[in-house]
C-alpha cells in the first residue's frame, strides 16, 4: 500500500540519542526508509585548540573527547607523543596504564550495556550497570581525585603513584564484578522481551563493517576478529592471556552482549596485571619541562572501549603540536548507521543507535 512518508526529526536533545545527535528520519508507517545522522552539535574544535597548547596541556583536552572513557584518549595521545619524542615509559607505568584502561573499559561498557537496556525500556538494568560503573569511578577517584576527567596518563608515564590499599580495593572489585555481570546477563539479556527486541535487529555483516571502518565491539559483534590489544600489540598486552569475544550475527544483541563478555575478560587482564606489577618509577626520567619533539609526525592507536582510537600528532619542532587529529572510533562506527537502520522500525532505530554506543564528545571532537 502506498502511503505518504513522514519526516521525523529526532534530537539533537532526545532521551535516547546518547548525547547531542540529530537524526532526520523518513518513516513509512513505523518503518524507517531513510535516516541521516546530523552530527557536530558538540564540535568544540579540540583539534584547533590543541594547536595553541603545549604538549602537556593537551592532555586535559583529550579527557573531554570520549568522556565516558577518558583514560583511553589520554593514553592514545600520550603514546603518539611518546613515539614522536622518543620517550621510553617505565614498566610500572605501563602496567598502571593497562589496569586503569581495562577498568575504564568496564566503566564505559557499563554505560554501553546500560543505555542499550534503557533504549529498550529496561531502565532498571541501566541502574544495575551504572552501580558497577560507580564502583570503578570510586577506584579512579582514589587514584587521581576526579570522577570523570582524569588527566592521569601523561606523556612519559602516569601522574600519580597508586595509593595505599588501592590494589586490594581493585582486587575486591574484580572479584565481585563477573558475578554482577552474570546477574545483568540473566536479568536483561536473558529476558524474553529483550531478546526479541535485540535479536536480528540492525544486522551489520562483517564485510560492511570492515569497509565502513567499524571497529571495536560493534565490529566484533559481526564476527570481525580484530582487536588491537592482540593483533597490533602495544604496551605490555602481549604478557597477558585473554580472549577476544566474538559475535556471529552482527545484530544488536551480539553487539551489546559482547561488551558484557569483554568486561569479564578485562577482569582477567587486570588480575594478571595486578599479579605482575612490580615497584619502580612511574614517570620516565630526564623529561624536559617543556616537550619539543623534533619535526615529524606520528600516529598511534589503542583499542578503546569503542574501537581503535588513534591519535595523529604532527610536530614542527616547537613546544606546541602543529596538528593533532583524533581518529575517533565512534565517528566511524556512527557513519554506518544509515546502512544498517533502514528497514527496521522507529523503535529499533534507537536501539541500533544505542548498540553502536557513540559518545558525541568523540564523534564531534
Amino acid at each position: 500500500m502506498a502511503t505518504e512518508e513522514l519526516t521525523l526529526n529526532i534530537g539533537p536533545s532526545h532521551p535516547s540519542t546518547h548525547g547531542v545527535c540529530r537524526l532526520v528520519v523518513r518513516l513509512d508507517g513505523e518503518i524507517v526508509t531513510h535516516v541521516e545522522p546530523v552530527i557536530g552539535h558538540l564540535h568544540r574544535g579540540i583539534e584547533k585548540i590543541a594547536e595553541n597548547r603545549t604538549y602537556l596541556q593537551v592532555v586535559p583536552l583529550t579527557d573531554r573527547l570520549d568522556y565516558v572513557g577518558s583514560m583511553y584518549a589520554n593514553w592514545a595521545y600520550c603514546r603518539a607523543v611518546e613515539r614522536l619524542a622518543g620517550i621510553r615509559v617505565p614498566e610500572r607505568a605501563e602496567y598502571i596504564r593497562v589496569i586503569v584502561c581495562e577498568l575504564q573499559r568496564i566503566a564505559s561498557h557499563m554505560m554501553g550495556i546500560g543505555s542499550s537496556a534503557a533504549d529498550t525500556g529496561a531502565t532498571s538494568a541501566f541502574l544495575y550497570a551504572f552501580d558497577q560503573r560507580e564502583k570503578v569511578i570510586d577506584l579512579f577517584e582514589a587514584l587521581c581525585g576526579a570522577r570523570l576527567t582524569y588527566n592521569y596518563v601523561r606523556p612519559g608515564g602516569v601522574a600519580f603513584e597508586l595509593p595505599d590499599g588501592w590494589i586490594e580495593q581493585c582486587r575486591a572489585f574484580i572479584e565481585q564484578h563477573p558475578s554482577a555481570m552474570l546477574t545483568i546477563d540473566e536479568f536483561f539479556f536473558g529476558n524474553a522481551i529483550a531478546r526479541v527486541r535485540l535479536k536480528g535487529i540492525g544486522v551489520l555483516d562483517a564485510d560492511t563493517a570492515v569497509a565502513w571502518g567499524v571497529s571495536g565491539p560493534a565490529a566484533r559483534g559481526s564476527g570481525v576478529d580484530w582487536d588491537l590489544r592482540r593483533d597490533d600489540p602495544y604496551s605490555v598486552y602481549p604478557r597477558f592471556d585473554f580472549d577476544v569475544p566474538l559475535g556471529s550475527n552482527g545484530d544488536c544483541f551480539d553487539r551489546a552482549r559482547i561488551r558484557l563478555w569483554e568486561c569479564i575478560e578485562s577482569c582477567r587482564i587486570i588480575e594478571q596485571a595486578l599479579d605482575q606489577i612490580e615497584p619502580g618509577p612511574i614517570m620516565a626520567e630526564g623529561l624536559p619541562r617543556l616537550l619539543a619533539p623534533r619535526p615529524g609526525d606520528a600516529y598511534d592507536h589503542i583499542e578503546s572501549a569503542r574501537g581503535s582510537l588513534g591519535v595523529y600528532v604532527v610536530s614542527d619542532g616547537s613546544p606546541r603540536p602543529y596538528r593533532m587529529k583524533v581518529r575517533s572510533p565512534a565517528f566511524c562506527n556512527l557513519a554506518v548507521l544509515p546502512e544498517i537502520a533502514v528497514g527496521y522500525t522507529l523503535s529499533d532505530l534507537l536501539v541500533i543507535l544505542g548498540s553502536l554506543d557513540p559518545v558525541f564528545g568523540e564523534v564531534d571532537r
Partner: protein, 203 residues
C-alpha cells in the same frame, strides 16, 4: 499561566487579599521548591554526572527532583556540558518549550563560561547565560553530583523569595539582593549578537 496570573491580580486588588497572597506564596514556593523536575539538557561530559545524580548512589528522587524527558513537564533545565553554536538554537528552543515558572541551572564550567574551551575555540558558546537566564551556576569540570544537589538546594532558597505576583517578585528580589537572573528581560535581544559582544569585551 493565565489562571494563576488572574488569581494573583485578583488577590492584589481585593482588600486583605495580600494576606492570602502571602500565604499562597509560601505554600507555592514550598511546593515548587520541593518538586523541582529537571530537564536533563546533557550535552557533554557533565551529562554523565547528571545521569549519576538521579541513579542509585545519589538518588535525587529523595528530594523530589526527578528527570523528565519532556520539557513541557519540567521546572528546571540543567544545562550540563558545552553548548556550541550549532547546539544553541536547540537549547534555546527547548527552554522556550518549558512552561513558566522555569529555572535554569548551568552545570559545569562549560555551561558557566565555556570552561576549558573558552580560549581558541571557534564554535563554543561561552556560557549559556549568553542566551538563557541562568539561576544557579555550578563550577567544576565536571561538578560532582553533590554539587548539583547543592544547586537544587540553592535554587530552593531562591524560589522561596519569589511570589506568584510578578510585582511582588520584583520587590522581594530587590530587597533581598538575591543573585537574580541577569538578562531575563532581553533574552531575544542577546541571543543573536551576544557571542560577538563578549569576545569584543574580553579580548
Amino acid at each position: 499561566m493565565a489562571a494563576i496570573d488572574d488569581l494573583a491580580k485578583l488577590l492584589e486588588e481585593t482588600p486583605g487579599g495580600g494576606v492570602v497572597l502571602t500565604t499562597l506564596d509560601a505554600v507555592m514556593n514550598w511546593a515548587r521548591g520541593k518538586s523541582l523536575w529537571t530537564f536533563p539538557m546533557g550535552t557533554a561530559c557533565c551529562a554523565m554526572e547528571l545521569i549519576a545524580a538521579s541513579f542509585s548512589r545519589f538518588d535525587f528522587d529523595r528530594h523530589g527532583t526527578i528527570p523528565r524527558p519532556d520539557p513541557r513537564h519540567c521546572d528546571v533545565m540543567v544545562v550540563a556540558g558545552t553548548v556550541t553554536r550549532k547546539m544553541m538554537p536547540a537549547v534555546k528552543r527547548i527552554y522556550d518549550q518549558m512552561p513558566e515558572p522555569r529555572w535554569v541551572i548551568a552545570m559545569g564550567n562549560c555551561a558557566v563560561s565555556g570552561g576549558i574551551f573558552y580560549y581558541d575555540s571557534y564554535s563554543v558558546v561561552r556560557g549559556v547565560d549568553e542566551f538563557l537566564p541562568v539561576d544557579v551556576y555550578i563550577a567544576g569540570c565536571p561538578p560532582r553530583p553533590e554539587a548539583l544537589q547543592d544547586a537544587v538546594l540553592q535554587l530552593r532558597k531562591k524560589i522561596a523569595a519569589q511570589s506568584i505576583s510578578p510585582k511582588r517578585t520584583r520587590a522581594v528580589q530587590s530587597d533581598l539582593a538575591m543573585p537574580s537572573d541577569p538578562r531575563k528581560g532581553d533574552v531575544t535581544a542577546t541571543r543573536a549578537d551576544a557571542a560577538g559582544d563578549v569576545s569584543e569585551v574580553t579580548s
